[in-house]
């Protein structure tokens, strides 16, 4: 006993303090506030207690405003406090130093949220494979929200600006309070009935504008989550602001940070779409031009034996249709399609060039057996002494065949028939 250390009071208080602080670190403690006294310095002294025990506690005046600890305290409050254990050395008083205090209810809400989230996640309700894709250009979209809230206004104004072709169908429901969860579920079921019985719905937006954690709590309802999971229409959840996450957000096919953002997800930008249409039209124009050019190339080769494959009136017809199309195109679509109409004029030109009379002007001619309407393409059809008609650009020559030379094969010379 004589070997045991001798401490001064100051020493033992300091060492006990160090031991307590090391042993426990920071933690949460739940209890009821009593004996609350706010000192002129702004520090709050109180007792935290449960059924069997109590502990002295202090919350020093918050250095910064707006961070957790600023909430007003009152005797009788059930709170969840975060802090550490310590000893006030001058008095040897053991106490809890709180750095953050929140109503216990809120903390429990958070706990319940995490529990439900983990449960539904393990059941597969958030699985990416179950997510349905949103349609690129929806025609009819269901909205489940309050008829008088901010969300509906935001959504309508975004859709109006971006893509007014969408038909919006509101399935009204309250979005906070005790009855809200059931009303929301009923609205989802009504939307599914509408989808299967009346007109197909391409997407469903469910949500509300910003509010307190309690206001948004209905979107953490388990039955609602299951209804959304079972919904065959692609669901977009849009609850509160960017920072608010709810169970609905996790179970929906897509989470939008706000109602406006949800509207942007379903409504393609009109300007983008116009650009896309223009691009498609250009592809069509380009492909058609290429087809005509190709045709013209083969036509040019076919001109060698002086016979054209396209009868004149057909070419005329095609050229005329092309002209008509060009005109209606320019008329209807105006400036944006200017470039393309110029291209079209070029096809018309190409088709005109393939008019058989043009090669005739260049010195080629067409030959017919007298009385026939189809130009000759093969000598085999021409007997010696037949009367043939040769058409030039400025007139016709009538002659009698004296000799027909016919190639037998590429390297075998030719056979000659004479009168």
């Amino acid at each position: 006993m004589l070997n045991e250390p001798v401490y001064t009071v100051s020493e033992i208080n300091r060492r006990a303090k160090e031991a307590l602080e090391q042993q426990f670190g920071s933690f949460w403690i739940e209890g009821e506030i009593s004996n609350l006294k706010i000192a002129p310095s702004g520090h709050a002294y109180f007792t935290l207690k449960d059924n069997q025990a109590e502990i002295s506690a202090v919350r020093f005046r918050p250095r910064t405003r707006g961070f957790g600890a600023t909430s007003a305290l009152a005797d009788g409050d059930q709170v969840l406090a975060f802090g550490r254990l310590s000893i006030y050395e001058p008095r040897g008083r053991y106490q809890f130093i709180a750095s953050m205090i929140q109503p216990a209810g809120q903390g429990l809400l958070q706990l319940a949220f995490e529990k439900l989230k983990a449960k539904l996640e393990s059941e597969g309700l958030f699985d990416p494979e179950h997510k349905q894709p949103l349609p690129s250009v929806p025609r009819r979209v269901a909205l489940i929200t309050s008829a008088t809230g901010a969300a509906i206004r935001d959504i309508v104004s975004v859709v109006e600006r971006r893509f007014p072709l969408i038909e919006l169908l509101l399935f009204p429901s309250s979005v906070q309070g005790e009855a809200a969860a059931q009303e929301l579920i009923d609205a989802v079921q009504r939307a599914i009935r509408y989808h299967t019985e009346i007109d197909p719905l391409d997407a469903l937006i469910i949500g509300r504008g910003g509010g307190s954690a309690e206001d948004l709590a209905v979107f953490n309802n388990e039955a609602l989550a299951r209804a959304l999971y079972a919904c065959s229409i692609p669901v977009i959840s849009a609850v509160g602001h960017e920072i608010d996450f709810t169970i609905s957000d996790f179970v929906a096919d897509v989470r939008a940070p706000t109602p406006s953002a949800a509207a942007e997800l379903i409504a393609p930008d009109q300007a983008e779409l116009s650009a896309w249409i223009l691009q498609c039209s250009r592809r069509i124009g380009r492909a058609a031009t290429a087809a005509f050019r190709h045709r013209w190339q083969s036509l040019k080769h076919a001109v060698r034996p002086s016979v054209l494959r396209l009868p004149g009136d057909r070419v005329q017809l095609l050229a005329q249709r092309l002209d008509l199309t060009t005109a209606s195109l320019a008329h209807r679509i105006g400036g944006a399609f200017h470039l393309r109409s110029r291209r079209l004029e070029r096809f018309s030109e190409i088709v005109r060039l393939s008019d058989p009379s043009l090669p005739l002007r260049r010195g080629y001619s067409m030959t017919y057996i007298e009385g026939e309407a189809t130009p000759l393409t093969e000598v085999s059809r021409v007997p010696v002494e037949a009367r043939i008609r040769t058409v030039l650009s400025t007139g016709e020559i009538l002659s009698t065949v004296e000799e027909v030379t016919r190639p037998i094969g590429p390297n075998h010379g030719s056979s000659v028939e004479k009168a």
Binding site: L165, E167, L273, R283, I284, A288, A291
Partner: protein, 69 residues
């Protein structure tokens, strides 16, 4: 609308891919031009429609006009 856009894309791909007869090329081309014009007009003239879906006591769904103001 979605269908018209798909058809437009379809026409463009067909014209690009195949060596079609001249007549068919023209027909497709004309259809494409008409479709593009129609879709563009539709876009320009559209106005957002919004209705409320209500359910009566016997469970019948019907549409009512919705007024934002």
């Amino acid at each position: 609308m979605d269908q018209a856009l798909k058809r437009l894309e379809d026409i463009a791909s067909k014209l690009e891919a195949a060596d079609l007869p001249l007549e068919e090329t023209l027909t497709l081309f004309e259809e494409g031009v008409e479709l593009a014009a129609a879709v563009k007009t539709q876009l320009e003239q559209a106005k957002t429609r919004i209705k409320t879906v209500v359910e009566n006591a016997s469970g019948l769904l019907s549409l009512e006009d919705f007024d934002l103001s």
